[in-house]
Amino acid sequence: MNPDPKPAVYDGTFAGWCAACGCLLAKASAAPLYWRVGSDGDGEDLFENTEVPGRPADDSNLNLFFTLLEPAGGRKLVYDLLCVFLSEAPDRETLMFQMVQVSVALGQRGRRWHSRPDMRRAGMLIDRVRREAHRSKGLLRFVELRDGTLYARYAPSHDVTPLVAGHFRRRMPRQRWAIHDEVRHYGVVWDGAAFHEAEGFPQDMAESLTESESRYQACWRAFFRELEIPERRNLRLQRHFLPERFRKYLPELD
């Protein structure tokens, strides 16, 4: 018989959530009442009877989680869970746990239960995050700094930097580049071999750029301007594809 449901605590990371979920699955626990971010050493515990099942360092729970998920969808399921996590939806942890439960019970096809409201909502969140990541992959703009680093700022509607950074690692493996999420105030740096935590970002952009940067931006603007066919002008469609949050970073719209 399943124990009574309790609230669950994890450390706020995706790996931490996976470890917590692994622990719950191993104990065949009922779905938690709710999830919160915290740790067992973060002061007064406001939630009595809170279960603190895992931390990212707890590799055994993490391994358990991935072992349990292997027949239920494996990497694809983990990727979908990550997308729901990155959506930053308030009910994301609950939805993710439901996705895992359905997948473990029904196998790989469980996630395709599109007529079920929670699975459909998870599907919509996955679509939104993937769409934002895809859009960001196209609309991110790098500028070249004096030290040769390519630097890009953006303000995505979801926390898609992990997905976007993986794309640019494949695309520019031997360049040094940095991506800065101005909404969530963090960034990652790829140095040609590994990711690093970004420590500070350029404050005065005009001072930091190479001489050729403005010339290439001017060329890009000239190219962009001449591509338009005036007889087909359709600004509404352009606005539809180019959301406001990306526009201020696009040199062609300066």
Partner: protein
């Protein structure tokens, strides 16, 4: 670092690698002007896709890897996506095609890129994430072979000289020899030859220097070469070089000549089936000169172009045959409805379709259901009966589909084709839209 990021990125403190650099030019005003001229000359080429390639173009490429689904990097004020550095190598043409902006009799500024200039622009634009790669076409400035050779040299310099792994689309010059076409295919992801005009009669009238054979012969050669390379790979030969992995495409101009949409669709269908084309693009004709052989059209027939794309999608992904959707001889597709709705209104006996019982082929014929919707329905059927509320949750365009489906306790209202036609036409069935979701009904 953000908590999510720290969980996903392995944060290390290893040695920092020096960036891979090549010596690129610092552009001056002259190069900027040249780029403007040659971009303007290329803007009537519709194709700007970078999809259809999986894996890296080069192992250990210094820069660039194509994305399978393609990526759009911007949208111009006319709403068209910008994905590639789409330029001509030169716009100094010896031909005099009536519909073309670069014909030799046109009074436009002329320019020609040097190899280093184009390589620098492609490389630096790609590093800044402006583009997915290069789309290179050219006017024919001397012989087809010399023009093709110059284009191939640019692509080879990028691929082999600098290890560029991004997308490269090369136009094949009609009349170029097979040797240059094969060399182009080895460095390019996609090759294309524009047919432009849908009948030999129109071609003879507007492009007297081009012939049907000069266009179709290289297309068929590319098809045969693609088949040869695929067969060699199928035999397990390890070192078969890649050859145009994204296949070949073409473009048809719509509205410059009197052919109806039936001619255009039948030609497209034949190109997909017999020549193995990946894409046929349609371009509503925009008058670029005062040649008397060209009809005066203002504005360009964007809605007609859009309907042709919808019909093209039905041919490729929805199991329709060209006989089912092509209009009568010499006519255009119905502007009021998308071609699937137009077909459904002519075939009331086919409906309603039961979403809980009918097969994929029948579901795909329902207006308001796209390929993605149908996949979701088929997957959800494993878990129980689907009702109307579930259909709406799945993203079905209910205002259209509700006349054609039945499910659970839902039965569609009885309709007469003419009444339903006027109701659907009144409910905004004919927007002037050019956006076309690949698998979503809109």
């Amino acid at each position: 670092m953000n908590t999510v990021a720290s969980a996903i990125f392995p944060v290390t403190s290893g040695p920092v690698s020096p960036p891979c650099r090549i010596n690129t030019l610092i552009p001056d005003d002259r190069l900027e002007r040249k780029l403007g001229i040659l971009a303007q000359s290329a803007r009537y080429d519709v194709s700007c896709v970078s999809s259809g390639v999986s894996g890296a173009a080069l192992r250990h490429a210094a820069l660039g890897a194509p994305a399978r689904s393609g990526i759009c990097h911007s949208w111009t004020a006319d709403g068209r996506c910008v994905s590639l550095l789409k330029v001509l190598l030169s716009n100094a043409c010896v031909y005099d095609c009536a519909y073309c902006a670069n014909r030799c009799s046109a009074n436009v500024p002329r320019a020609t890129f040097k190899v280093e200039e184009l390589v620098s622009l492609t490389w630096e634009f790609y590093r800044r994430n402006y583009i997915e790669g290069l789309f290179l076409s050219s006017a024919i400035w001397s012989t087809p072979d010399r023009t093709m050779e110059a284009m191939v040299r640019v692509a080879e310099k990028l691929r082999y000289g600098h290890g560029f792994g991004g997308y490269i689309h090369l136009k094949v010059i009609p009349g170029a020899s097979l040797e240059w076409i094969v060399r182009a295919g080895r460095v390019a992801d996609r090759l294309s030859i524009n047919i432009e005009l849908p009948s030999e009669r129109s071609l003879g009238m507007l492009c007297p220097q081009k012939s049907r054979a000069a266009i179709l012969t290289p297309m068929l050669r590319i098809r045969d070469t693609l088949v040869e390379f695929a067969e060699d790979r199928g035999k397990g030969f390890r070192h078969v070089p890649r050859f145009a992995p994204a296949g070949q495409s073409t473009q048809l101009v719509v509205g410059a000549t009197p052919e109806g949409d039936d001619t255009i669709l039948r030609l497209s269908d034949a190109l997909y089936r017999k020549v193995g084309l990946r894409r046929v693009f349609y371009s509503a004709y925009v008058p670029v000169g005062d040649d008397r052989r060209i009809p005066v059209l203002a504005p360009p027939e964007k809605l007609r172009e859009h309907r042709l794309y919808q019909a093209d999608w039905l041919l490729r992904f929805y199991g329709f045959t060209v006989e089912e959707i092509a209009p009568n001889e010499g006519e255009k597709l119905d502007a009021r409805f998308d071609p699937k709705t137009a077909w459904a209104l002519k075939h009331p006996e086919y409906f309603p379709v039961d979403v809980n019982r009918d097969d994929r082929e029948r579901l795909l014929r329902v207006p308001g259901l796209g390929v993605r919707n149908v996949n979701r329905i088929l997957q959800a059927r494993h878990f129980g009966s689907i009702d109307a509320a579930a259909l709406r949750r799945m993203g079905v365009v209910w205002r259209r589909a509700r006349y054609f489906v039945q499910c659970g306790d839902y039965r569609p209202p009885r309709w007469h084709p003419e009444q339903l036609a006027s109701r659907l036409a009144d409910s905004g069935q004919h927007p002037e839209q050019l956006e076309l979701g690949l698998f979503n009904e809109s």
